[in-house]
Symmetry: C2
Subunit: 143 residues, 2 copies
Amino acid sequence: MLSSACQYGLRAMIYLAQQPGDAYLPVRRISSTLDVSHPFLAKILQQLVVKDLLVSLRGPSGGVKLARASTDIRLNDIVLAIDGQKVFDSCVLGLPGCGHRRPCPMHEAWGELRSNFCSMLEETTLAAFAERTEVGGFRLTPM
Amino acid sequence: MLSSACQYGLRAMIYLAQQPGDAYLPVRRISSTLDVSHPFLAKILQQLVVKDLLVSLRGPSGGVKLARASTDIRLNDIVLAIDGQKVFDSCVLGLPGCGHRRPCPMHEAWGELRSNFCSMLEETTLAAFAERTEVGGFRLTPM
DNA sequence: TATATTGAGGACAAGAGAGTCTTAATTCAA
DNA sequence: TTGAATTAAGACTCTCTTGTCCTCAATATA
């Protein structure tokens, strides 16, 4: 459903939203906390910088931080920035051009499930999600 | 969500369920109707033969046909045979071991959507699906 | 029995996604 | 001003899925 890159991106963004203060956080710190490859995560976060979801600073005490308040970033923004629109309009049977006008047999049932998923991503802010993560004691890391 | 192989397999099985009579249907016929590569589809259908969802016969007037009544095959059987169990217990954030005991932040919301999807696959028989496909005028082919 | 037709099976090629590595550019701090 | 820390950028490798190709085995039919 979501690519690995997108999964890493989401986890990193949630982690960043949990940080107090306004300091830059080195990517290396994030990657070691989440236990993912540093160069790979760096490349992913770079995409989020380009899409204006993160800002970055080079040099000592540099790193990345959220470009705006976590209450103003939705999970959907992150997924779109990394995986693009295709997640949202793919057909379960892989038929090109499947849609309301020429549906495949699964279109209706799948469409409903998918739109529920999309709604969740669109409605949930990063702030809400980070808080739920902390309060619920949920984890972002494999270990 | 589903691999291309699985998508092709589902489309082929629906197409087979729509055939009247009990004759073997050559894979070549199926592949050209669905407009997918013949060798690739052959390999996929072979898996379904091994899993006893199809029976095959070589030689002239050979081909494949459903191993049992389409009322006795569920979409779930096909997905399991091709993509395996991993479709059903994957974590949205890709965390290994994510589950009730150690959930990731998305576990609950995603779990519900996924279990709806699974229920649909488990409850829908190939017969019901093929009929809906014909009655609704839905399509299996790209063109 | 001869032959054309079909699936079975394996080796191979192409593509995408995942992940690594190296070098350059930037910036803080001593 | 020098050096260390850090992101930026691109080339590269690996692996898995997708897809192709060729040969072999089976079998219905003439």
